[in-house]
Amino acid sequence: MKRPGPLITLLAGLLLGLFMLSLNATTGTEAVSSTPKKKPPTVAASPAPTKTATPPSPSPSRVSVPDASYAGRTDDDSSAVAVTVRDRKAIAYFCDGHAKESWLKGDVRDDGSMRLTGKNGDVLNGTLKDGRRIRGTADVGGGHYGFTANRAKKPGALWRATTTVRGAKLDGGWIVLPGGKQVGILTRDGTPGAAPPIDPTTGAVTVDEQHLTARPATP
């Protein structure tokens, strides 16, 4: 045992790392959502770092609904659909990459089915199967589409950015499909058009030479 210094340095780094990790594990998931959300009621106040917030009390009739996002294409391959579920609430985005898009919201029922509604009477019916995929139909803009959306990796398949750049109102929605292809629409002052690609891990996107950051869309 000649020099303890280097070892202490290493251990300090290890401890710091573990400390930051536990800090992340306990607070990180809270920061994901920009909207205030209720904490699921936990039985005992256990400050132990839980990795994923598992839905409380999975009684037999209640299927487990993990917080996750799902993405896939419509059966006619014309459009993409993404759904993000959090705390048994869901937000969905239907997008053809050119002009047709719709944001829909609603609750996930105990059996894993959901009926999400959007503007102009748009409706999405879907059922979560095995926590891995959502199969359903979407009625958007007068069309009727069947779709299958598979579970996507974090940070998720559904991104949104709303901001104002030089007086122009921008509203962008992106779906990152399994395999990395993106479908998105950027609406500038009410005029929809194809959206530039985003960085699928950070949400960074360049619009009109402005650097924006899209956020994972949450219900």
């Binding site: 045992m1 070892l7 340095t9 990180g28 974090k154 891990t201 650097h211």
Partner: protein, 194 residues
């Protein structure tokens, strides 16, 4: 990279004192530790489902900005490391406290880099979708491995004279490349923001 299925659970090896300074153990322990750390971090980053985001520091617009500035701080101290190492080895004229400077600037650089790495691994994971990202992922794991090796090597005496400069140079090179593929990219993409 080859993945040793046992490595993920190893983490840091137990601080086993090297009783017999002679023999290959002196090199084997740091080398194994380096491999375990690098592979362990990589496997964690790959297997762990990235959380997407984590806590932020007050006063910064994004975690990217926080990390970039922390990484830049680490890189600055790494430059101090290079200069002070040259002083210690007599290649540059330096004060008598050059070795102390080297020790402490290294500690600061390492401790500043740790939160950045934690965020990378926790929120983003080991990614390969772009050359920059792939390089960054590999080098990030490599950096902490080779740094562990350097720290453990410092504990043994009568090493060949070229070994520490070589390993230290690897640490410095890795950190520089990590900084170039992350913080510099961030500043160029998003502007030098806080």
């Amino acid at each position: 990279m080859t993945v040793d299925p046992n490595a993920a659970t190893q983490g840091f090896p137990s601080p086993e004192p090297v009783r017999r300074p002679a023999g290959a153990v002196r090199y084997l322990v740091p080398a194994l530790a380096a491999a375990a750390v690098a592979v362990g971090l990589g496997v964690y980053g790959r297997v762990h489902d990235p959380a997407g985001t984590a806590f932020n520091l007050a006063g910064f617009s994004s975690t990217g900005a926080v990390k970039s500035w922390l990484a830049t701080t680490a890189f600055f101290f790494a430059l101090v490391q290079l200069v002070s190492a040259l002083m210690v080895y007599g290649r540059l004229p330096g004060p008598r406290w050059a070795s102390k400077l080297h020790r402490w600037s290294g500690r600061i650089a390492f401790l500043v880099a740790v939160p950045v790495a934690v965020h990378c691994l926790y929120a983003l994971g080991y990614q390969t979708y772009e050359t920059r990202v792939l390089l960054h992922s590999i080098l990030g794991c490599f950096f902490f491995g080779v740094f562990s090796a350097k720290m453990l090597l410092l504990r043994s005496e009568r090493l060949p004279g070229w070994l520490l400069p070589l390993v230290g140079g690897l640490v410095f090179t890795a950190l520089t490349l990590i900084w170039l593929t992350s913080a510099l990219w961030f500043f160029r993409t998003f502007g030098v923001t806080t």
